[in-house]
Symmetry: C2
Amino acid sequence: MAIAKTEEFTAKEQNLASFAKALSHPARIAILKILAEQNACICGKIVEVLPLAQSTVSQHLKELKNAGLIDGTVDGPKSCYCINWKAFEKFNAEFNSLFSALKIQNEKACC
Amino acid sequence: MAIAKTEEFTAKEQNLASFAKALSHPARIAILKILAEQNACICGKIVEVLPLAQSTVSQHLKELKNAGLIDGTVDGPKSCYCINWKAFEKFNAEFNSLFSALKIQNEKACC
DNA sequence: TTTGTCTATCGTAAGAAAACGATAAACTAA
DNA sequence: TTAGTTTATCGTTTTCTTACGATAGACAAA
């Protein structure tokens, strides 16, 4: 049996895992970095700076979009992408609510 | 060709992706949550509260340990685990240095 | 209209990940 | 010493992920 037993966990756990999964490939980190550094949407040009085939980059973009971390719109023959900062806020908030709040009291109570 | 082309990216990107990968499964989030809620190491008992086989939990624990997110010591026939908060700090720091610093200036400059 | 450009999708192949049962290893306790 | 407990590892199967080339679709420009 190899099917992922994700349904056995809480929605919060699944949600956080899902965000993390979207961030779990260096190509996707690189894409997000490129988008974050821009002051506007990027239409095209993302493929050029990555060491991957066009179809592979498109696939990574799709995953980031599905995870909600980026927004995409079509502009003629080109596609434009930008970061969805609200999704990042949500990720940070969920992450902190699970861990950071617990940190202070426990920091020195371990083996 | 399916081999991950991780070596084509920067160390920082790989590092962050690596952390995220460790967090990308709800079982591992659940494990970290359990460890975070305790005021001490947990020796045993982690398997009991998860809906997974003992060998599967052991595998997840190993991945978290390899990622540096938890520390493990052997105590007789039992194994004890606790969160490595420094690794969490490092993750947060890397995450912020890539994204949060860029956020303010760009928040309203997108399509 | 035809041609060129850009991006998404399809099909495919290889590797990684997730899950389990069975077993081995390490220690405790009888 | 022997039996029991706990956890790690091995072997295996199934599914997911990553990657590519090829192709199709959408639009712009000649």
